[in-house]
Symmetry: C2
Subunit: 380 residues, 2 copies
């Protein structure tokens, strides 16, 4: 096991009816800005619950944080927050709204342009942020990371600030989610776990099993959720998996990869594809191209998750990739670039971008532009 430092101060407030508690969590006298995405919270009752909870508080609203939140939109929110002396933020939405609000929370404490913060990669001076999660997927509700896009240049980068001080997770608010968003959320969660798991064998027995626990739970609940996405316990399991998949709990003392995400981000930046969808396409390719260095862990994954206990070494590795691909297909997602209209020119552009950034991703820092190209070729 590697040395590590772990700390996650976010207060999780989980369960039906818990949105009513948000006012207790925000210190009195705060000037609150509530941030939203599109209008779905107005039709599923979340907006009304938030307004009711904050009825005696001083708040303004900012609407329109889009999927893959852009600095162009967030600059407007920062300007509005500064004008109004905002000193508490409440993000109500999915990972994009929460990610975007993390940049706002840093931007409110920064004099320059918000894109400078993104390029800097991290900024720890922030306005405190609470969240009400509406879409389980990114884990942003319980970590310090965000991913911010810039429309103008088709760029998309990670940015780190602080953990939310609290996050409210009510499974009932997920009942009205479209199937496609649920599928992408499951895929996103699955790949978050794989990025922290499918690396080096033997680093931590417990972390391995905790990661496998999330994978097994997702595989167990995914077909049941397809049957009934208004089953409270199933959606609670899903919410738990998404939050626990990227809050540091399964990452203690173990190596991490993230090359699938880095490649996926480029596909989103260049083609506007949904994040979870890009991951479902790239991960099987990553497994196939990096099968030698990841062999031991892929075999463990194949055995423990898919019961692949017999057969030749090479066959089992390919079967593990196939099973993964089948799982994503069972969610209704594409698993090939050709299905989403991405061709050779994009592959070459991503190689070029990685080379330009001198990229070296993955647990050993050896996923260069050339390796990314080979991974994408395997996803055609």
């Amino acid at each position: 096991m590697k040395n590590f430092i772990f700390q996650n101060p976010t207060k999780l407030i989980f369960g039906k009816g818990m949105i009513a508690k948000i006012a207790e969590e925000i210190p009195s006298g705060k000037k609150i800005m509530v941030t939203f995405g599109g209008g779905s919270v107005k039709t599923n009752g979340v907006y009304d619950q938030v307004k009711e909870a904050l009825k005696d508080r001083d708040f303004i609203e900012f609407w329109g944080i889009e999927s893959n939140p852009t600095v162009e939109t967030l600059r407007k929110a920062i300007a509005l927050g500064k004008e109004n002396g905002v000193d508490f933020l409440l993000a109500v939405g999915g990972g994009s709204v929460i990610d975007g609000t993390k940049l706002i929370s840093a931007g409110l404490k920064y004099d320059g342009d918000a894109w400078d913060l993104v390029l800097r990669g991290a900024y720890s001076e922030t306005v405190p942020l609470g969240t009400v999660l509406t879409l389980p997927a990114t884990g942003s509700e319980m970590n310090s990371g965000a991913v911010i896009s810039r429309t103008e240049t088709k760029e998309k980068y990670a940015f780190y600030s602080k953990h939310p001080v609290f996050s409210v997770l009510d499974p009932e608010v997920t009942f009205s989610l479209p199937e496609k968003q649920i599928a992408c959320g499951i895929a996103d969660t699955f790949v978050h776990v794989m990025e922290q798991y499918l690396t080096k064998a033997g680093e931590s027995s417990l972390m391995d099993r905790w990661a496998e626990s999330i994978l097994k739970t997702l595989i167990e609940i995914a077909p049941k959720i397809k049957e009934d996405k208004t089953n409270y316990d199933l959606m609670a399991d899903f919410m738990m998996c998404a939050t626990m998949g990227l809050n540091g709990f399964i990452a203690m003392g173990v190596s991490q990869d993230w090359c699938t995400h880095m490649i996926g981000h480029e596909l989103t930046a260049l083609h506007g594809l949904t994040h979870g969808q890009t991951l479902a396409i790239v991960l099987p390719g990553t497994m196939r191209v990096l099968k030698e260095k990841k062999a031991q862990k892929i075999l463990q994954y194949g055995e423990r998750i898919w019961g692949l206990s017999t057969g030749l070494y090479e066959t089992k590795i390919e079967q593990a990739a196939e099973k993964t691909e089948e799982f994503f297909r069972s969610l209704g997602l594409a698993t090939r670039l050709s299905e989403v209209g991405v061709g050779e020119d994009t592959i070459l552009e991503i190689e070029r971008r990685f080379n330009e950034r001198h990229a070296g991703f993955g647990e050993d820092g050896d996923v260069t532009g050339e390796v990314a190209r080979r991974i994408l070729e395997a996803c055609k």
Copy 2:
């Protein structure tokens, strides 16, 4: 899944050489009191490492917090701390030293007698506390609980204050632990998990699997640790299991039992038995006496942990209890009251004490004095 609120702010600082980092974690200008148990930290190098780390800091030492820390000892520490204006505590030791120091941390902020705090059950005004863990077992390094004894009256009760602000876990400091302490630490961890797991079925797929992950890891590493307790990765796995077994991570949204602990505490209070040893005796009895209400979960445990997939329902439940008992015996622990010289008079005294306190422990609050007696009869 039940509604829940979860927050655990403790900063874990894990790995070899990490004791050197403690000074960075304690704000400058603090008057520190370092608390210890007996002298084992002087022979295993921990004391020297702590002194070196604090060489430029203002600290006093308090020695002699015993196993099952007593209020009689802790009162002396509180008096010393008050005299010296202590405003930061560093507990260096196992669960007993950390538990005891939690009472000191509240006692320093309280004008009355420390036993009042224990009887009150909780006190949240405290002096901040950091820890350097030397014995993986209780999880105290990452939770807000403590168990405090009173010699005079042979009483032992739980007390809650605040989480440590940081805890340093260096697996190397465990290499010199006696085998018996390691065995008790493994049993303690195992039963902590069972108290949070062997309750109601179907509350959370993920929490179930995370609990099972700790149990499986303990079962996997226990015989290997017996072979070589200086294997860094094994002891790192053990430390992780102990800390993660009682820090709230496997308790989100699920029922908890704790009747085995409540009965075990009485055995310690009356006979001075080591905590982990009492649990190894009581748990199989709890499983046998409460087998009907816990049936579904015992079957799941038997199947997933011990591979008991065939056989009659009744047989499998008894086999699950037998396997559990065998595991504790494999650690070198007693699993019967007769082996540790506890007889009928103690059983009746525990029944009397539970009745006097109108006890109703367990996930349904139905473990009364009479049920506790039946559990203990099954442990003879």
